[in-house]
Symmetry: C2
Subunit: 412 residues, 2 copies
């Protein structure tokens, strides 16, 4: 008899951990992703800020899963799902039938109905995004150096980050560090130190999921780095010349979007109830109501009390895979329980915030925890070693070695 | 009195070495380049073959020259030169006046009048080129894995390198290594080992500038790696489906151009005599006949007996700068003499050819010479260390860590 067919859509933390949990299962596993690499998203902002090269935070999916003989990796995009026929439809109309499906297609950025802002304010979800942001930030200083009009020059030296969550805080802090330290002495007509980095957050404080005292510490650390923090302000317009905040106008040639995410449209194809963010409201065992053969893992699954962070996605992926195995063995599935190992966000050199249960850390100690955790979880040995060297060198020299402008599709 | 204005156009090996030789000169130096980085071109093929990340072979020009207080770096493209007015005209019509000009604008690839081949056969001159080639080669295996038609599949698994010089040999050898070793065990429907790598060279042997016995050894080493070497064959057509060689037709979805270079069009703007390749026929002191204030260095300068390789460009750049200094001091300029430290080309794992004067080396010993020379000349400490780790790891594991497909402008 042929092995049961299991399909995993998406190879982020949810999908990859699900695939690895099925390593020894007697299944015929297909893993589909529209990129050829698993991305270590917690360090993606380092690619966007020229601290790491793209290959340092990405591993080829085929290579990671090469030794799982039960696994086929498919590079391609899923067009839609047909749950009634238990079929995944690819962009080229190829159909892939499954007995069990684990959907881990994640999220993309959302401009809250203002998709016309996208060309002026790239978000940070993919390697392409990171390289585009790196290009824009580095080019802005080059444009400023060549611009003679002081008003236009100031607009090139103004960087706005929209959204004060972990990504926004990390980006704003690092941009300030680049302006203050990395570029020192390299320009002749401008002083990069005069660059202005503005972090806009709609909520009353940065890092809203964190306790207020950590938000306050994060804001203080950002301000110490030279970031202008604007909590409680809502962006109402973005165009090629800057940002509108209600009546107010901020001239800025470089705007980065770190404000909102929306779920993959594949969630809606399931026909199951979605929450406001478009996430699938799964059963306690992570299966889809009415479809016991479909599980959802990672950011696309709405599970009360579970944050949208990498450790949660990994746990869900592994849990979904184990429930598939239970089903195959004729056993009842098990409810998902989230083990909270804490959350952390870095702000810049020597500063971070960490919450682990009731423990709250900030400053240098939190930064050390962040550093060790991120190096530890990087996916393979080589990347870990090279990232450590890059960081040691960057820490000592204030330099960022990936300061390479690569022309892309969206040249301006 | 204001310092004399020296302008250097191009920051490859010729331009950068000229700039550094002017470090202590009392001049007002402007270095113009259309990228923000100096590129270590001898290792560019490693980026194209996923062995190194782009930032590993590139250093930001501003950073390299930051401590030269007499130097301004300008990121931008030169539209033309007006030697009569001693002026460089930028793409935005900005004019830069000079007292001395060092032109080191190098070469680009030439399709010998067949520019329509360019979309089907990218060349390797810039980081963008390297990333595009990497993308095409990696994508070809992905397409082959998804293709059910055996004829089309074979076309996806055929890789043609046009041109058997050093770059062509390096690329073909490494492609074969990827197919044979790197991808082993990662695909389920295709066997990457069956991929065909064909190296086409119009001359009667590969590596034409080398002695015939080294060419023969190189061909043998390539064939041992699995490359099909076709010397004495001329490509007469390239399109989306393959390559024509006279009557013969080779179906191949991936074609790489390593066959010809042409000089920067800025050489022609000087109004000086050019050779057949469009290089400027300079005087023995590297100045331009009729323009004692203009020097040409690097691949754009035609100097009998001097090859178009990095060490020659460096020597010319340094020499041109010193002649500028001599002129400023009221001294006569000095004739350029090339010091031949040899030439080397690598073929793949453990194989290379080296000629140093009358010494000829091949095989493992030559490969060691190649390795040490390339690591030694890499531009800064950090890159050297990381490249050494990458290579040690790759040598031991047969892996290539930069196997990341990044979507670019030219998606297909």
């Amino acid at each position: 008899m042929a092995s049961p067919r299991v399909v995993i859509v998406g190879c982020g933390f949810g999908g990859l951990w699900a695939a690895q949990a099925l390593k020894r299962a007697r299944v015929d596993l297909t893993v589909i992703d529209r990129t050829n690499h698993h991305l270590f998203t917690p360090l993606l902002y380092q690619v966007a800020t020229a601290g790491l090269s793209a290959p340092s935070v990405a591993g080829p999916i085929r290579h990671i899963l090469a030794r799982q003989r039960n696994t086929t990796v498919l590079y391609g995009e899923v067009r839609t799902l047909e749950p009634a026929r238990r079929t995944v439809v690819m962009e080229n109309a190829e159909e892939i039938a499954y007995d069990y499906l684990i959907l881990a297609a994640g999220t993309t950025h959302s401009y809250f109905g203002h998709d016309d802002w996208a060309p002026y304010a790239p978000g940070l979800k993919t390697l392409e995004d990171a390289i585009e942001i790196r290009r824009r930030v580095l080019l802005a200083f080059e444009h400023a150096e060549r611009e003679r009009d002081p008003v236009k020059r100031a607009a090139w030296l103004t960087f706005v980050v929209v959204g004060g969550g972990a990504t926004g805080v990390e980006l704003a802090g690092t941009f300030a560090e680049i302006a203050r330290h990395t570029l020192r002495g390299e320009f002749r007509r401008i002083d990069p130190h005069t660059a202005r980095v503005v972090l806009v957050e709609g909520a009353g404080r940065v890092l809203p999921p964190y306790p207020p005292e950590l938000s306050a510490k994060a804001q203080l650390a950002l301000e110490r780095l030279g970031v202008t923090v604007w909590p409680g302000r809502v962006v109402t317009g973005i165009d090629a010349e800057g940002v509108s905040l209600g009546e107010e106008r901020l001239a800025a040639k470089t705007v980065i979007w770190a404000a909102g995410v929306k779920s993959s449209p594949l969630g809606a194809a399931l026909g199951a109830p979605l929450d406001r963010a478009g996430r699938v409201q799964v059963s306690p065992d992570l299966s889809v109501p009415g479809h016991a053969e479909i599980f959802v893992a990672g950011d696309l699954a709405a599970v009360p009390g579970v944050p949208g962070i990498a450790p949660a996605a990994k746990q869900m992926g592994r849990h979904a895979a184990r429930n598939v195995i239970r089903r195959l063995n004729g056993e009842p599935t098990v409810e998902f329980t989230y083990r909270d190992y804490g959350q952390l966000a870095t702000i810049g050199r020597n500063a971070a915030v960490v919450m682990i249960g009731r423990l709250k850390l900030s400053g240098f100690a939190a930064w050390l925890v962040w550093l060790v955790a991120h190096i530890y979880f990087l996916i393979n040995f080589r990347n870990r070693l090279v990232v450590m060297i890059d960081w040691a060198w960057a820490y000592w020299s204030y330099q960022r070695y990936a300061r390479i402008i690569i022309r892309g599709a969206k040249s301006r």
